[in-house]
């Protein structure tokens, strides 16, 4: 990547400077060849939504969406599959509607980004030029950080299932094959990680299944965090009322090794034996962000962006949305769709030489099921303030107890957000 100091200062400045970059983009590269071209990497919650809204708000923009997978497999509701109350089919959806919106879908994987030439290189061998690039690759799971994980994973013994798909189906099979009286050991990565309430919802869903099918079984939750990282009241309430004595919670217990032959997870304190092991290692921004020089936080793990436009703080014309972004906003699918909308609106304005909305708003809701009939949620609205970033509005927060009405809304939320992303 080549980036001189002047460019760097231009993009790392606030609103006005970004708008300038936008004008420059238009005159330098789009005027010559007609329609501006936005390339989006990853058709998950963030990328697919961004593509849709770019076409809706900027019909003159050519949008290319690059994704290696044939189908969208949703992480939301994947815990319900593990609990046996939904199937893989329920969480698997096609991309067929996106081309009908005028989005060009390319089935490939990005293996390189040349930010000076504004080109992405594809595994298939070709290259695609862009005026603006949106990176929405989700997470890369740091399987190297837990000794033995890669071997156990390759042998099909231990999975993370923190990206929905084959691993979700395999983990469900392992749970089904487990005898009554068995032990399910699950680890929770230290924050920040994808979907803060996700591990605790998973514990509820597996417990709900055990309660019905194998009531003598146990769950040991090895948490890398000092405490339940999200919706503590909701989950404690569910564990105590629905599954008393079934879930053993151990805070500050990050695993450093796993043995898929002896079926042991090792923490600083203990070697924990189980019949089914579900180790979820720490995570970082998808590798394409590193290729673009955008995985730029102090640890080289997440991406820092101008949160009003989601443009990288170091690489001009490159935006990052979804789980890869470092901010005070939770890493959720719901939030990824909100990043996508703010980013799409900003790109439309920047490409037209106008100033992006100085006060964008993003909202989050994470519903979690606590049993096969009850759910709770955490919900917040965040409003951008110059110099402060996203500030949480009053009255945001979590439910203390799951209930049936929220379970119905949880299911409805999933149907609606899938339609919103892919419809």
């Amino acid at each position: 990547m080549t980036l001189n100091r002047r460019d760097f200062l231009k993009v790392s400045g606030a609103g006005a400077a970004v708008a300038l970059t936008g004008c420059a983009t238009q005159s330098a590269s789009t005027a010559a060849k007609g329609n501006p071209h936005v390339v989006i990497v990853g058709a998950g919650f963030g990328g697919a939504t961004c593509a849709k809204y770019l076409k809706q708000w900027g019909p003159n923009i050519d949008v290319t969406l690059i994704e290696p997978n044939d189908k969208f497999v949703s992480c939301p509701i994947s815990n319900w599959v593990l609990g046996g109350i939904k199937t893989m089919d329920d969480i698997t959806h096609g991309y067929d509607n996106l081309p009908k919106r005028g989005i060009k879908m390319v089935k490939d994987y990005v293996v390189g980004v040349d930010t000076a030439q504004r080109m992405v290189k594809l595994k298939g061998g070709s290259s695609i030029a862009y005026d603006r690039l949106v990176l929405a690759p989700g997470i890369e799971v740091l399987t190297d950080t837990v000794k033995g994980f890669k071997d156990a994973e390759a042998a099909g013994k231990v999975v993370h299932a923190w990206k929905a798909g084959e691993q979700t189906a395999l983990l469900r099979k392992q749970l089904e094959a487990m005898p009554d009286g068995g032990v399910f050991v699950m680890s929770v990565p230290t924050a920040p990680y994808r979907c803060p309430p996700g591990p605790y919802e998973r514990a509820c869903m597996v417990a709900n299944y055990f309660k019905k099918a194998k009531p003598k079984s146990k769950i040991i939750l090895l948490d890398g965090n000092p405490d339940i990282a999200s919706k503590k009241g909701l989950f404690m309430n569910a564990w105590n009322t629905y599954y008393p004595g079934m879930i053993e919670y151990r805070p500050n217990n990050a695993p450093f090794a796993v043995d898929g032959t002896k079926m042991i997870v090792s923490t600083e304190f203990d070697d924990v034996k189980g019949d089914v092991l579900n180790v979820v290692p720490r995570q970082r921004a998808g590798e394409v962000c590193a290729m673009a020089g955008a995985r730029n936080d102090s640890n080289g793990v997440w991406c820092t962006v101008n949160l009003a436009t989601f443009e990288s703080t170091t690489v001009p014309n490159v935006h990052v949305i979804g789980d890869s972004v470092l901010s005070n906003l939770p890493k959720s699918g719901h939030m990824a769709t909100n990043h996508a909308k703010v980013c799409a609106a900003a790109i439309v304005e920047l490409l037209a030489g106008r100033q992006p909305d100085p006060i964008p708003v993003v909202a989050n809701t994470c519903y979690s099921a606590t049993s096969d009939t009850t759910s709770g949620y955490v919900a917040n609205v965040f409003r951008f303030e110059a110099g402060k970033g996203y500030v949480s509005a009053p009255e945001g927060g979590a439910t203390a107890k799951g209930d049936e009405l929220n379970f119905a809304y949880n299911e409805s939320w999933a149907q609606n957000i899938w339609a919103e992303v892919l419809g």
């Binding site: 708000w57 019909p59 909100n338 100033q355 006060i359 299911e411 149907q415």
Partner: protein
């Protein structure tokens, strides 16, 4: 778009992005309305238990949002979301959702 809506959107969005957008509502209004669609479905049309909000009468819409905010109307979650937006934004969103079929 009525004069009143324009004035309110201006107040809500500090004059941002009124020109050149495909639809009558300004882009700030469309973008904040889009935050609702992650729950209420594309275009505000829900597929299930969450109510649809497309095509609602504007005055009814604004009253519901204000009532959610004040607590006059009870619900599971709308108070938390209503608190994130201004009265001027309720007006602008109400005008926009009323146009969605």
């Amino acid at each position: 778009m009525t004069i009143k809506t324009i004035a309110l959107s201006l107040a809500a969005s500090a004059g941002f992005g009124l020109a050149g957008v495909a639809s009558a509502a300004d882009l700030h209004t469309q973008a904040i309305s889009a935050t609702c669609m992650s729950c209420h479905g594309p275009g505000g049309k829900s597929l299930g238990a969450i109510p649809s909000i497309n095509g609602l009468d504007k005055d009814y819409f604004v009253k519901q949002m204000k009532d959610f905010k004040s607590g006059a109307r009870q619900g599971t979650i709308m108070k938390r979301h209503a608190y994130g937006y201004t009265d001027a934004e309720f007006e602008a969103m109400g005008a926009y959702f009323a146009t969605l079929k």
